[in-house]
């Protein structure tokens, strides 16, 4: 894992001091709220419906055991004993008090963490594949590049006041688990004819009120020129992005209105000036950063596979866990374990202080001190030896974290919704809870197979509903919460935006509506292996529309 150098440590500690003074002056009345608000937002401090909310950055979703333990400590000492992991691979605390914020930031700084750039019109936390550096299908570990982008974009003077917020996602694998095509910039590792690794660059993707799939602006940017290319895109956006209308200020609108070819020409023009200059990544610096992400000291335990069928007979719950919550590792004898934060009937993404500490313990003991936060609001222990799997599972059972539903219908992305969020129009969490209870039975989930439901409580789409195989969008209509259902979204490399098939449903009707969609899929799939999204693509809207609204 990356460790702060003296520059990182200095700027984070200076920021803690600076913001502590700003909080002191706000409380004393020296600063008005109008003066203080932009300062607190630059430090991740929002005001939500019931209280302040502090959003803490988890760089590219990677945590050490000590960092995870600190997140638990903060939850217990300053909040209500829990935290909420988000689709941005960050964590949010829902109940901090203003006076405690300086102390929280100092605690975070002590483990090389902060809340800088988790709000505002700047480059936000870079997100990536939760299995980065571990996945068997990876071309290159994207974390060193994510770290370089983090350093380049942190407090970048030119990009601190962009037209709007800016999100970059990166994947080193051809199977996209980071939804890169739905970010302002998406990066996908590529190998060219000479065997060199570089990056396909997608631009102008996004969700929100105008969902757009990112367009490929360059099929192969050499590794060493990536920063120069990113800077070129940001410069074009900073110069031409709309500042007159916040709903049209994201780069997706610029790309859409101007056309990809126009933007590409402007970026290439800028790149011709920047390329080969100070942003060229020197080999020595690349090596220095890469060294932080060196492979762990794997041990050959002599076990390279598990007899899952046997385990299913001996302990069905453990067998199900092995089937759903493990992911192929690049190193023989190891696996990556998904720790589900989606207990049946629970609030998706929430973890208690005790659970965070339990995961920290397991990471230190069994996963080379590494934890990942996924954009699907789960955690991952990336490097677990097959010989340690049962011990890890037992530890998760003890912590109440052994739900074996990764990738199944109850593993939903859900935004905080109107229960917490000042922007929301409708509640999200109770909808997720009702659906979760409806499909709780393991056999039913197994029968359905891989199916992604994503729920947002407003059109800002923090719950990624546009890319849910089944998406649910809460709206308010005449004082009532109403839920629109979309079908056919996909956040992977086969990106697609879900389609609304008809009128919305009141909250009580949503679980049954979802069940009708699921039943229609099961009735019409060709085999058990044909997934919901594949069946939808083959069958089209008609059977799903009929399932939701009947023949009329």
């Amino acid at each position: 894992m990356y460790r702060y150098d003296e520059f990182d440590a200095a700027f984070v500690s200076e920021r803690v001091e600076q913001f502590s003074d700003q909080v002191r002056r706000r409380i004393s009345g020296e600063l008005t709220e109008d003066q203080f608000r932009p300062l607190r937002l630059m430090n991740g401090l929002y005001l939500q419906l019931h209280a302040y909310m502090l959003r803490v950055a988890v760089p590219y979703g990677t945590l050490s055991g000590a960092q995870m333990r600190m997140l638990g400590h903060i939850a217990r000492k300053y909040d209500r004993g829990y935290g909420h992991f988000t689709t941005r691979q960050n964590i949010q605390y829902n109940w901090p008090k203003l006076r405690d914020i300086p102390e929280i930031l100092a605690d975070l700084a002590s483990v090389e963490m902060h809340a800088i750039q988790t709000s505002g019109n700047c480059i936000r936390n870079v997100t990536t594949d939760q299995f980065a550096g571990a996945a068997a299908d990876e071309i290159i570990d994207p974390r060193p590049v994510a770290e370089i982008i983090r350093q380049w974009s942190s407090l970048h003077p030119e990009f601190t006041f962009l037209p709007r917020k800016f999100k970059i996602a990166i994947t080193g694998a051809p199977n996209d688990r980071a939804a890169v095509k739905f970010h302002d910039i998406g990066l996908m590792a590529q190998t060219n004819g000479s065997g060199d690794v570089g990056w396909a660059v997608y631009v102008g993707g996004g969700l929100g009120r105008t969902p757009m799939i990112g367009k490929m602006i360059n099929g192969f940017v050499p590794h060493e020129h990536l920063l120069a290319y990113l800077e070129s895109i940001l410069r074009v956006y900073n110069r031409y992005g709309r500042r007159d209308n916040k709903y049209k200020a994201r780069i997706k609108i610029l790309v859409h209105e101007e056309g990809l070819e126009t933007i590409k020409a402007q970026v290439e023009e800028e790149f011709s000036h920047v390329r080969g200059g100070v942003l060229t990544l020197p080999e020595a610096e690349l090596d220095r950063i890469n060294a932080y992400f060196a492979q762990p000291a794997y041990v050959d335990h002599g076990v390279v596979s598990l007899d899952v069928e046997r385990e299913k007979i001996l302990d069905p719950a453990y067998g199900r866990f092995l089937t759903n919550n493990t992911f192929p590792h690049a190193r023989s004898g190891y696996t990556s374990v998904t720790v589900s934060l989606k207990p049946i009937g629970g609030a998706p993404g929430d973890a208690t202080a005790e659970q965070m500490e339990a995961v920290a313990d397991l990471a230190e003991r069994y996963s080379f001190d590494e934890v990942r936060v996924t954009h699907e609001q789960n955690l991952v222990l990336p490097h677990v030896a097959l010989t340690d799997l049962k011990a890890v599972y037992d530890g998760l059972v003890e912590a109440g974290l052994a739900d074996a539903n990764s990738g199944e219908i109850t593993d939903m992305i859900t935004c905080p919704g109107l229960d917490f969020c000042a922007l929301a129009n409708a509640r999200s969490i109770p909808i997720a809870q009702d659906i979760s209870r409806r499909f709780a039975a393991p056999d039913r989930q197994k029968e359905i197979g891989k199916l992604k439901i994503k729920i947002s409580g407003c059109i800002n789409a923090c719950g990624h509903h546009h890319v849910g195989h089944i998406g649910i969008l809460g709206v308010e209509k005449k004082g009532t919460e109403l839920y629109q259902i979309t079908v056919g979204g996909d956040g992977t490399e086969e990106a697609s935006v879900g389609k609304i098939l008809g009128p919305g449903f009141v909250a009580e009707e949503v679980p049954s509506a979802i069940e009708r969609l699921v039943d229609a899929y099961i009735a019409q799939r060709t085999t058990d292996e044909e997934t919901f999204i594949s069946a939808y693509r083959r069958l089209g809207d008609a059977p799903f529309k009929e399932a939701l609204y009947g023949n009329g």
């Binding site: 019931h50 209280a51 109770p430 009532t480």
Partner: protein, 102 residues
């Protein structure tokens, strides 16, 4: 439509309502209800609140009073006044030094 005044207290972020004594309190049922013809009083109360610098996100909310019980028209306000519904959490409370008056 009758209205109440609401906001969030600076130190705790807690949802608060202006009562008839000019105190900002936690209970929506203690809120002063401004009649339709009290627009001037509402304006004065908002101005006095802004002077304190202690109430954020100051806004009016439409309410109805039925059998002496204040009902906020918007779902959002009903959730604000009571706390999250799922998971069920108690609302944020004011600490000892977090009470504000105009």
């Amino acid at each position: 439509m009758t209205k109440i005044l609401t906001g969030n207290e600076l130190l705790s972020g807690a949802t608060v309502y202006l009562d008839a004594n000019g105190d900002w309190v936690e209970d929506i049922q203690a809120a002063r209800v401004f009649a339709k013809d009290e627009a001037k009083a509402l304006e004065v109360a908002m101005a006095a609140t802004k002077v304190t610098g202690r109430i954020l996100s100051l806004e009016t909310e439409d309410v109805e009073t039925i059998n002496g019980v204040i009902h906020a028209n918007r779902i959002r306000e009903r959730i604000r006044s009571e706390g999250p519904t799922a998971p069920r959490f108690d609302r944020q409370h004011l600490g000892e030094d977090e009470h504000v008056s105009i």
